[in-house]
């Protein structure tokens, strides 16, 4: 008791939290009781001095709010409740009393009598207008808690409660309180007898509609407009009784509001109408239709239009759903839907006019309402459009009619897809009119202007399962074949539609395509490559190949494709006449296009997860390898089309995709053969295909210099090695030695990009997957290789640069699997950045290590450490930044800037965003680097940062806006900057600035920018002019 008194006195004097906590813990462990606290407070609670009284009550409330609930029994609660209820009458004590009541009302031991006492006291004493937000919040919380726990008590005093509550809630403005108030209101509307209070409840809810609240910036409460909207909406549709009051209000808001209000109103109507019921909906149907119609026929924006269509759907469903059962054989629905439908059809009599589009949209919306309406709409609209199409007066408007019909059919398809009732629904809807639609479509296929719509229509029809018979699909394929043959100059969108139609049929009726379409395509593909000048011919080939790659995805079709294309390839790649030998390049190009087609088809198959890819490792892959090796061997005597590096590259791509899908065992078998061939020079019987290898020849690639065509074959080796599983044993005697061979070959003999890249890839994948097995090679690379090939200044500079690139590819393998040895590789590179001769190359290497490529990926079974690139960058960045700020050594500073740009291009923005304030000045300084590629990538980086939309980045861009503008202007005019890429990048950044930076910052630059951009408008390159137009018009706004 004494300690309690002491605590109370101390608290009154100091107001510290500590005393409250101590009191509570004393109560909890039984040292004192609530009664003692009240006794100790005694004088304060009744003190004459207002301040002391209020403080006393406050202390009691604080203690109660923290006390464990089991410390309260029925009688203590009753005493406390009646004490607080009395105190509500005391102006000074209202605030702490409410606080106490909040905690009391939540206690389990509070009785019904207490609850009704509290609520009555609230209604009697509380005048909301006199209280501040947080106190009002307490009032609402009390009502809310009682509503949750003692609803029956409140229901007993129904009218008294409603009167009291309505006057409490009236005029509330704070969003936090409103959220609670709306929740209370919803319960009232649903569970209480509101017959006498409909109007006042309507007033205290609908007065908030529409919600225009916009959260203040950095709002700590985080209440969003959307939360308020949904809460309010749950009140608006709380009771059918609101119906006749609410709809006029909705209509008024719809007429006058801003776009967002309109949308809100339409959405609210859509949720309210079903609750208000068919009677109300029917009585307002005309008015609703004429206002909502306006939003569809003269839409403010597409979103509002969508909402309006939804609202119409709800309206129709609400009105007609109850009659649904009564209607049996449909055809003839009455009332609103019929009128609206007829109105739209009337508009559709002029299908070419602009109003026809919204009209068909309304009808499409009707299709996904209820079955009877859908049937009626489809029957009316389809027969109307078909009749119109057939009428000789309307020949000119046929494209428009087809477009409308297409939209309707697509709506039928979508509605049945959405409801998962596929077969039943679209058959029921469209079945009776299928023949008419089909014949109209066939007619439409015959004319250029309607062909595209007709093809799209067929796609829709084919998509609806069971609609077209096999015969009809056969007919479609025949017509499509005719179009394929007869119209070489078709525009893109039509031929795209044609191809997707055939591709769609190929998935279901592949035999049809195989028997009728493929022969046409294959026969149109020439055996000889189009000559150098035959551009049109060549374009046709490409088009056919493109079509084939889209059609031949099904296993059987793909098999046919491969067989036919390989035969073609054989024809093309083995010279048969002197004319062909005169100019070999077109043949190579044709072979390349064929191989690209196969690889594209394969990639689509991989995406779709087809399982039939594996078996081709024993079918066409050996044949392909045979052809390539043969070509390389023969190329000593004569030029061979398939010896071209681009052809080999495309073939390697194909091999790589197939090997990717194999199991480890299969991979091992295949690789053993391949390595035997290419690495060990054993030209045995494997890969023996249609061509016999010339006797007595070996490839002999790694034993010194040999011809380019042979060297190209390393790409094939790489293609096999890249996708290997880590557990596959590579059948070479010594893996480290193998890698050393590759490395030597790479820096000494490799002659083109394909060869270099292949060697790099081989090194990085093997290092990545077999790190422990090639430790010797790694140590050697760091040690003697680095010393003799890179650091030795006697060696020619290009050679040393090449060595750095090889070094980088080894490091990359380690980076991706997160090996600790990487740090030594990285440090070695950092060491030489200062070197004037090879510094830039090393700097680029530092950045390029981190670039995520498509070689070391999960798909290729690489060992990939999570977020490896980001980790590397975050470690390397501080060091690079520090070095590039070091102004003592200008050349190393420049080199570090190069490293900086390559590093940050390698990762996404998030990895370096935090360092932006430091990076920005460096990047700006980097814009004077003479290397165009680096400058372009700096500008791209800046653009990434600029359009990221994050506030930090925006601030930085704004700070540097003027210098950015000037730098970009220097980079965007033709006579100063040679590189098109830099000019385009600079213009893009300029175009983005006005949208990001406040106008007052940019205003001083505006005249200069507009003047300079006028020069860019006259750029010799079309692509640059395009960006200039964009940029300049952005600066005008």
């Amino acid at each position: 008791m004494e300690s309690t008194q002491r605590l109370v006195r101390t608290w009154i004097a100091t107001g510290r939290e500590q005393e409250i906590d101590e009191t509570v813990s004393e109560i909890s462990n039984g040292q004192t009781s609530l009664l003692n606290v009240v006794k100790a407070l005694g004088d304060y609670l009744t003190s004459e001095e207002e301040d002391l009284r209020s403080k006393g009550v406050d202390f009691l409330s604080s203690v109660i709010s923290r006390c464990p609930p089991q410390k309260f029994n029925m009688s203590s609660v009753r005493v406390l409740t009646s004490f607080y209820c009395d105190k509500l009458g005391d102006t000074e004590a209202i605030v702490p009393s409410l606080k106490g009541l909040v905690s009391l009302s939540m206690l389990p031991s509070i009785s019904s009598a207490d609850a009704s006492a509290i609520i009555r006291a609230l209604f009697e004493h509380i005048r909301m207008k006199a209280l501040v937000q947080s106190v009002r919040f307490n009032v609402f919380t009390i009502v809310d808690t009682l509503m949750a726990k003692h609803r029956d008590v409140l229901k007993e005093i129904n009218n008294e409660f409603l009167d009291g509550y309505i006057s409490l809630a009236d005029g509330e403005k704070d969003p936090r309180n409103l959220l609670v108030a709306f929740a209370i209101a919803r319960v009232i509307l649903i569970e209480f007898d509101i017959t006498r209070h409909v109007e006042s409840l309507f007033n205290i809810t609908f007065c908030y509609f529409p919600i225009t609240f916009r959260p203040p910036p950095n709002d700590p409460y985080g209440i969003t407009t959307e939360q308020l909207r949904t809460a309010l909406r749950s009140c608006l549709n709380g009771t059918p009784a609101f119906g006749s009051l609410a709809i006029p209000l909705f209509l008024e808001k719809l007429l006058a509001g801003s776009p967002s209000t309109k949308r809100d109103t339409l959405e609210s109507m859509a949720v309210c109408l079903p609750v208000y019921g068919p009677a109300v909906a029917r009585s307002f149907a005309r008015k609703l239709w004429s206002s909502i119609k306006l939003e569809i026929f003269q839409p403010t924006d597409p979103l509002t239009e969508q909402e309006a269509l939804k609202a119409i759907q709800v309206l129709v469903t609400t009105i007609h759903a109850p009659e649904e059962r009564a209607i049996e054989d449909d055809e003839d629905i009455q009332g609103f839907a019929r009128d609206a439908c007829i109105e739209c059809l009337q508009i559709l009599k002029e299908p070419e006019k602009s109003q026809a589009k919204p009209a068909i949209k309304v009808l499409c919306a009707f299709v996904s309402t209820i079955p009877s309406i859908a049937r009626y709409t489809v029957s009316q609209a389809v027969s109307h459009l078909v009749k119109l199409f057939m009428s000789p007066d309307e020949v000119l408007t046929r494209p428009a009619i087809m477009q409308l019909l297409l939209e309707l059919i697509a709506a039928i398809r979508d509605s049945s897809l959405k409801n998962n009732l596929e077969v039943v629904q679209h058959l029921a809807l469209l079945g009776p009119y299928k023949d008419e639609v089909f014949s109209v479509t066939v007619v439409a296929l015959g004319t250029d202007s309607t062909r595209r719509f007709a093809l799209l229509m067929l796609i829709c029809l084919v998509m609806m399962k069971g609609l077209l018979s096999d015969d009809e699909i056969g007919m479609v394929v025949n017509i499509a074949n005719d179009i394929l043959q007869s119209n070489p100059d078709e525009d893109d969108s039509t031929s795209d539609a044609l191809i997707s139609l055939l591709a769609m049929i190929a998935t279901t009726n592949s035999r049809l395509i195989e028997e009728s379409t493929l022969p046409i395509l294959f026969s149109a593909l020439p055996d000889d490559a189009p000559t150098r000048d035959a551009n049109v011919e060549r374009a046709k080939c490409w088009r056919i190949l493109n079509t084939l790659s889209k059609l031949c995805l099904q296993p059987d079709l793909f098999e046919t494709l491969v067989v036919r294309l390989l035969t073609k390839l054989d024809f093309v790649c083995v010279p048969r006449s002197d004319a062909m030998l005169m100019d070999i390049e077109p043949n190579s190009a044709y072979a390349h296009a064929i191989l690209k087609t196969i690889s594209r088809t394969l990639s689509s198959k991989v995406e779709k997860g087809h399982a039939d890819i594996q078996k081709h490792i024993n079918r066409f892959i050996p044949q392909l390898c045979n052809l390539l090796i043969y070509s390389a061997l023969v190329s000593d005597e004569q030029e061979m089309p398939a010896a071209d590096h681009r052809v080999v590259g495309a073939a390697a791509e194909v091999v790589s995709i197939v090997v990717q899908t194999l199991t480890p065992n299969q991979q091992e078998v295949f690789m053993t053969t391949l390595i035997k061939f290419i690495y060990s020079n054993e030209l045995e019987d494997h890969f023996e295909g249609s061509r016999k290898f010339p006797p007595g020849k070996t490839l002999n690639i790694f034993n010194g210099s040999c011809s380019t065509p042979r060297n190209n074959l390393v790409a094939l080796l790489a293609a096999g090695l890249i996708p290997l599983h880590a557990q596959v044993t590579i059948s070479v005697p010594d893996l480290s030695q193998f890698l050393r061979d590759i490395r030597i070959w790479c820096i000494n003999y490799a002659g083109n990009d394909l060869q270099h890249e292949s060697a790099w890839h081989i090194m990085s994948v093997i290092v990545n997957k077999q790190t422990e097995g090639v430790m010797e090679f790694l140590q050697d690379t760091l040690g003697s290789f680095w010393q003799t090939e890179v650091l030795d200044s006697a060696k020619p500079i290009p050679h040393r640069q090449e060595a750095i690139r090889a070094f980088k590819s080894v490091a990359k393998g380690l980076l991706v699997n997160g090996h600790s040895l990487l740090l030594r590789f990285r440090d070695a590179l950092f060491e030489v950045v200062k070197n004037e001769e090879i510094g830039w190359e090393a700097a680029k290497a530092i950045g390029e290590i981190a670039v995520i490529d498509n070689v070391l990926t999960k798909k290729n079974h690489a060992v990939v450490k999570y977020l490896y690139s980001q980790k590397y960058v975050s470690q390397a960045l501080p060091r690079i930044v520090a070095n590039s700020r070091d102004s003592d050594n200008p050349s190393s500073q420049m080199a570090h800037l190069v490293a900086l740009t390559t590093v940050i291009r390698a990762v996404t923005r998030a990895a370096y965003a935090h360092a932006m304030p430091l990076l920005m000045p460096l990047l700006l300084r980097g814009l004077v680097i003479p290397d165009a590629a680096i400058r372009a990538s700096i500008i791209d980086t800046l653009l990434d940062i600029a359009i990221s939309g994050e506030s930090l980045e925006q601030n930085i861009i704004s700070q540097h806006a003027t210098s950015l503008v000037n730098a970009m202007l220097n980079n965007c005019v033709d006579d100063q900057v040679q590189s098109v890429r830099v000019r385009i990048a600079a213009l893009r950044l300029l175009a983005a600035l006005p949208g990001l930076v406040r106008y007052d910052v940019l205003h001083p630059s505006k005249p200069t920018v507009l003047r300079e951009l006028a020069k860019a408008l006259d750029d010799p390159k079309r692509a640059v002019r395009k960006e200039a137009v964009e940029a300049r018009s952005n600066w005008y706004d």
């Binding site: 839409p299 006019k353 602009s354 026809a356 190009a589 079309r1022 395009k1026 137009v1029 018009s1033 706004d1037």
Partner: protein
């Protein structure tokens, strides 16, 4: 519109013409399907501005055809107010002809002004731009033509903030 009067409430909509792939592009393609080694930087042949470019620069950012009609949410192309053959490009001279949807269309001047502003902003200064209503397609053809091609009047119109705002709306709505 401010007047509340709509000159042509239900105009005919034409579906856009076939996508304008340049014929010349097809012929200029290289021997190789993709990944041609020659980068754009090296191919430094100038590409002169032509009729297609004035009408449609690329499918996404068009000069004239994407301008919106002041009365409708449709582009000038959809309403067939302007089409590529109506544009004539010379060395330093562009002549654009447009067809109002109805002969009494009061928006003609506004459409013409929008075209002019778009070209003013997007073409190099060396170009002279003439804009005419198609002969016989408008009842006050002469007046409209005169208004559109008078430097002073155009400048005066562009001083008027409401007018500029409307033009801006036609140019940027999407």
């Amino acid at each position: 519109m401010n007047t509340g009067e709509i000159y042509n409430p239900n105009p005919i909509i034409f579906s856009p013409k076939k996508s304008s792939g340049r014929k010349s592009d097809l012929l200029a393609r290289s021997l190789w399907l993709e990944g041609s080694t020659q980068t754009e930087d090296e191919a430094n042949q100038p590409e002169p501005i032509d009729q297609d470019e004035i009408f449609v620069l690329t499918p996404c950012k068009d000069l004239i055809r994407s301008i919106y009609d002041p009365e409708h949410p449709n582009t000038l192309e959809e309403l067939r107010v302007v089409s590529a053959p109506q544009i004539d490009v010379g060395q330093n001279h562009v002549r654009v002809e447009f067809t109002p949807t109805v002969p009494h269309c009061g928006m003609s001047t506004l459409i013409g002004l929008s075209i002019r502003v778009r070209l003013l902003r997007s073409l190099p200064n060396r170009f002279k731009v003439d804009i005419y209503v198609k002969p016989g397609s408008h009842q006050s053809e002469h007046a409209v033509n005169k208004q559109l091609n008078d430097k002073e009047r155009v400048a005066a119109a562009l001083e008027n903030p409401t007018l500029v705002q409307t033009v801006e709306h036609c140019l940027s709505q999407q």
